[in-house]
Symmetry: C2
Subunit: 109 residues, 2 copies
Amino acid sequence: MARRTEGKSGCSVESALAVIGGRWKGVVLYWLSTRTLRFGELRRLLPNCTQRMLTLQLRELEQDGLVKRTVYAEVPPRVEYELTPFGRSLVPILLGLKEWGERYRRRLP
Amino acid sequence: MARRTEGKSGCSVESALAVIGGRWKGVVLYWLSTRTLRFGELRRLLPNCTQRMLTLQLRELEQDGLVKRTVYAEVPPRVEYELTPFGRSLVPILLGLKEWGERYRRRLP
DNA sequence: CCCAATGGTTCCTTTTTGGGTACTACCTAC
DNA sequence: GTAGGTAGTACCCAAAAAGGAACCATTGGG
């Protein structure tokens, strides 16, 4: 998605959705809210997301300051992703979305 | 957006975001959470959204059962949009998004 | 030497969204 | 008869997002 609101006109709901609205961002954020995860772990948690997409979404979340990426100089490489404090400020909303989605799953598309 | 999760695999966060993730849906829902609105009123509230887009977003919200559309057989035509009970169940989350967006507006894209 | 594991990147294609402009129907009021 | 207001549609095009497949670097192990 990476929809960018133009600052002035975009209301705050738009801004918020611009940040979490990517195809896989909500799920990524949700899983990262449970614990720090490696790239490969995230891949396994999102089997329908291609590696490329996962990378892109993580990069955007990183740029938006929601996720911190830590590379360990090891072989094979190890990269860990975790929520920043800013990212954690979003967790209540994510949980809200999750509960709502669960409660109304049967009527959702 | 109209992103459709395939049921089984899609987790509930995905499902929820699929419903509110359209370009203008968050804002439309937010305004409708304040009161019932006519088409023209929504247009004026979303000056950057074209008439066509507004129609499309409203149709999708209607199909997803979040918004109720009522046509009054008058001339000139009058069409009112309001949240269904299902749509209203989303309001707390929308308010959460709005607050979050406001609080962190300066660091958001 | 060859393979495996990890965490990517590149290139190309398809699908999905979004947007612009013009046009409509209907009745009222002038 | 003509203009105006409302709530749309139709058609076409551009941009963005998503997806698929293949490729890369590193190094430990056999």
